[in-house]
């Protein structure tokens, strides 16, 4: 079946089985490989995208559910002139990524959290940032979220 949706501001038509996950349409049909496959059961968050501004784990979201909705992937959060999003800049400044595989999902989760809360507290970060990072970049993720929202890196003395 064909499903009409918007991805990174562009109208697209996806040819996919209705029950197939959005992740594979994004990666294999649209060729946007910044969104990653990690677990297939919405446990790790490597596949996090925004659907109408809300974070969603695309490996477990059937494409039929995104018809008519607006999807943003990691490739779509830069400014129109190509400048990095404040969160991306903070990620570089804090030297967050190690292997980097989970970081698209982490950044998408962080952008959604910041859009929702403005200046997230440590508790809000704990609650929202449930994506898994095996390299253990969590202290720097916390630090980068604070920095991106103009907050001093209060607690994470050790990081960077």
């Amino acid at each position: 079946m064909t499903i009409s949706t918007t991805v990174n501001g562009k109208a697209v038509t996806l040819n996919a089985e209705p029950d197939s996950p959005l992740l594979w349409a994004i990666r294999e049909e649209l060729g946007l490989t910044g969104t990653k496959f990690g677990c297939g059961i919405a446990a790790c968050g490597a596949c996090t995208v925004h659907v109408n501004g809300e974070p969603a784990r695309s490996c477990s979201l059937p494409v039929s559910e995104v018809a008519g909705k607006s999807i943003t992937t990691i490739e779509g959060i830069k400014g129109a002139d190509g400048t990095l999003h404040a969160v991306q800049k903070a990620w570089i400044a804090a030297q967050v990524p190690q292997c980097g595989y989970c970081q698209s999902g982490q950044i998408m989760a962080a952008v959604a959290l910041i859009e929702k809360t403005g200046k997230p507290s440590d508790d809000q970060i704990d609650e929202a940032m449930t994506n898994i990072c095996r390299c253990g970049t969590y202290p720097r993720i916390r630090k980068a979220i604070h920095a991106a929202t103009g907050q001093a890196a209060t607690a994470v003395e050790g990081a960077a």
Partner: protein, 747 residues
């Protein structure tokens, strides 16, 4: 590792190998380092000329394989290592650029296309045989150092700092320094002044007296024709401008905007996607499978039966995995149906009770000194999975008699060798194209890359390129695990509160002696290993055997301190050599952690100190127990002596991450077996630590002792579990002897 790589190195690899043997892969692993040595030792050889042809374009001039200088002053450095996120390639570039006095803004780092050049050296001539059979070519590298490299090979592959320690210190710094000398020599001739009057800075040779300077790019063509000095003098560290600086990592920008391309992301036109299921009980074979339900799934094109697995080939991953799940393949258990976690622990207990070890090390007469009533404790730890975030994914294409493979593996050479063996093709018909790796921690090592064999088998019978992706379920069930292990520790603590005898009887797949360092200075110590193999593959898991040995020894030292009624830091101090690096690390850690400061009710403080990969790390952890019985880590103080540090911030990141991986495994991770098969399937039942449970405060300090450079990717792991367990004992009075803590919290 049971195999002794040092011994392996004394035998040249056979020119033609049949079958995939671990020995060959060990050699392959060493050979990457060997290739690094090769570069410096044959600065004027044909190999260097070949590399120059491969890398240097018009207006570019190649030096000693690893470096080229362009006429516009852009400097390109070729790294033979795969950066898996530890920042090792940035570190290597820093080391070369430092000695070269390069302008960092114009330095580019590229993966060595010389992978193929190395492969030619290696596969064409039996590369290690080349090195060991003709040691004369390895100028200036003592045999003992080669043996050292071989012994540390696990680190070479899994940890980036070995890249710096070996390739960096042995080769890249020397290449930078020797190239700088050649540039100075060229400039001296051109300016008509003595070389001694010239200095270098920011990719320029400078003659201060006459206020003249020449950019490297204008000297490179002529300098590239000179013979390079094989043993150039290196800089005094006090003059460093790039090394020991937190230079931003070169790989990071592409990892924040989705442009970084991992093996999982590769695609070519007409490519199909396959996924696979191997026998759940390792060692089993495929007996039958009804393909019809898979072929009925839209997009599925083919079902391929392998000896021990079944694969589904489809237009995309979702169709492939849906097809695979629609089938009910039948496998034998390979005679392993009786193997379970409990049966393995039972076998360990029996072996240790029988007291006939496979190997023994230590000092003094432990039997005589143990006394009638030793303190005794038994510990158990489970198999652990690497659980790297990128599941295995390789693409292969067999066309016109040639096989190409794309993906992220730790040893592209050995991957290629495996594909050569499996395909039966000549080595010059097989190319492995290395890509970024989404985490490894020891998982993507040559000895357990069955996916290379699988994708080769699929590609050889398909008319189109195929990307084989392992599902997370396959990944968890078919791992190369940190061994399940058990240990009985005993010690005699005498009336003067000193240890008179200490023994550690541990059982697992193989001896850990070559990899773990026992740091305490005791009159009598025995470390005895008992070997028992299951049907599982045990592999190198970040810090390898130091994880479980660190947990055993440092938990037991804590038990002994309490038995003696001595403060745990003080007790350790009393058993470390005066003026030792270990004592300094411990003292600094205790001081910085305010070890004696009072803590809130319910919070305990624990210490552990472990040396692994020549680096000493102490953690002090403050922790409590949550209502659900799970630990809460409040604060960690860490002191690290790795000799010296190339990039402090990148090193800090490795210690942060290693500590978190150690905590994660201690708290929640276990791979268990029933009927020979792994019971876990995904992150739902193999839980990794999440951000909310990571320490809010992690205070990390480095001691630059100037000792020989140690590793940094792995040594943060081993002291984490015992420091946590010791903190929980301090908080609750309950001793954690079995990991993970989750299992006991739920029991």
């Amino acid at each position: 590792m049971a195999d002794n790589p040092t011994l392996e190195m004394e035998q040249p690899a056979p020119a033609k190998r049949k079958g995939v043997k671990r020995r060959a892969f060990l050699i392959g692993g060493v050979a990457i380092v060997g290739a690094g040595l090769f570069g410096i030792s044959i600065m004027d050889s044909n190999a260097v000329k070949t590399a120059a042809k491969l890398t240097a374009g018009k207006g570019e001039h190649s030096f000693a394989t690893w470096l080229k200088i362009a006429e516009d002053n852009v400097i390109t450095i070729y790294s033979p290592h795969t950066d898996i996120g530890q920042g090792s390639n940035t570190g290597l570039a820093q080391m070369l650029a430092e000695e070269l006095d390069a302008n960092w803004d114009l330095v580019k780092l590229v993966s060595a296309p010389a992978e193929s050049a190395f492969a030619n050296v290696g596969l064409g001539r039996g590369f290690l045989g080349e090195m060991t059979g003709q040691p004369g070519i390895i100028n200036g590298v003592p045999q003992s150092f080669l043996s050292f490299i071989a012994r540390q090979m696990n680190l070479q592959i899994t940890g980036g700092s070995s890249a710096l320690r070996f390739t960096g210190q042995v080769t890249f710094q020397k290449v930078g320094a020797a190239t700088r000398l050649a540039l100075i020599e060229t400039a001296a001739k051109r300016l008509g002044v003595p070389a001694a009057e010239l200095t270098t800075q920011d990719s320029h040779v400078i003659h201060a007296k006459s206020s003249r300077s020449l950019p490297y790019g204008k000297l490179a063509a002529e300098a590239a024709t000179l013979s390079l000095n094989n043993e150039p003098k290196l800089k005094d560290p006090k003059n460093y401008r790039l090394m020991r600086q937190s230079v931003p990592r070169l790989d990071i920008p592409a990892k924040v905007d989705g442009t970084a391309q991992y093996g999982m992301d590769f695609s070519v036109p007409d490519m199909r996607v396959a996924t696979i299921m191997a026998a759940p009980a390792r060692g089993g074979k495929l007996t039958s499978v009804d393909e019809a339900p898979a072929l009925a799934v839209k997009g599925v094109e083919k079902v391929i039966k392998l000896d021990d697995a079944v694969a589904v080939v489809a237009k995309g991953y979702w169709a492939a995995i849906s097809g695979l799940r629609a089938m009910t393949p039948q496998f034998t258990d390979g005679g392993n149906g009786g193997i379970s976690t409990a049966s393995i622990f039972k076998a360990y207990d029996d072996l240790i009770a029988k007291g006939d070890p496979a190997g023994e090390a230590g000092e003094g007469d432990v039997k005589a000194a143990m006394g009638p009533k030793p303190v005794e404790a038994k510990y158990q730890v489970p198999f652990l999975h690497h659980a790297m975030m990128e599941p295995f994914a390789l693409t292969a294409h067999y066309k016109d008699g040639k096989l190409d493979i794309w993906g992220g593996m730790q040893d592209p050479l050995a991957s290629k060798m495996m594909a050569v063996d499996v395909s039966g093709l000549d080595s010059d018909k097989v190319t492995f194209h290395p890509m970024l790796i989404g985490g490894s921690f020891g998982r993507r090592l040559p000895m357990y890359m069955e996916i290379v064999s699988q994708v080769t088998k699929l590609a050889m019978q398909l008319p189109y390129p195929v990307k084989l992706i392992w599902s997370r379920e396959e990944e968890i069930a078919q791992g190369a695990y940190r061994p399940q292990s058990a240990a009985v520790l005993k010690a005699n603590v005498t009336a003067n509160k000193r240890i008179a005898a200490f023994s550690n009887d541990y059982a697992q797949t193989e001896s850990a002696e070559a990899e773990t360092t026992f740091i305490y200075n005791l009159p009598a110590v025995a470390r005895r290993n008992y070997e028992h193999k299951s049907n599982q593959i045990t592999g190198a898991w970040r810090s390898v055997n130091s994880t479980q040995q660190g947990f055993y020894n440092e938990s037991f030292m804590d038990e002994l301190a309490h038995a003696a009624g001595v403060d745990p830091v003080e007790f350790r101090r009393n058993h470390l050599k005066a003026d030792s690096r270990h004592l300094r690390v411990l003292d600094e850690c205790a001081r910085l952690a305010n070890w004696k400061a009072p803590l809130p009710e319910g919070v305990g403080r624990g210490v552990a100190i472990v040396e692994s990969f020549k680096t000493i790390v102490a953690h002090v952890i403050e922790a409590s127990v949550k209502e659900d019985g799970m630990p809460k880590v409040h604060k960690i103080t860490t002191v690290v002596d790795a000799g010296s540090i190339v990039n402090p911030d990148a090193a800090k990141a490795q210690i942060e991450g290693g500590t978190i991986m150690g905590l994660s495994s201690a708290i929640g991770e276990a791979v268990t077996l029933e009927k020979g098969a792994v019971q876990q399937s995904n992150f739902s039942d193999y839980p990794l630590l999440k951000l909310a449970d990571a320490p809010l405060v992690h205070d990390i300090h480095f001691i630059n002792s100037g000792a020989y450079m140690g590793g940094i990717g792995e040594p943060g792991v081993p002291p984490a579990a015992p420091a946590l367990a010791n903190a929980l004992f301090a908080a609750t009075g309950k001793r954690v002897r079995n990991l993970p803590i989750l299992t006991q919290a739920k029991a």
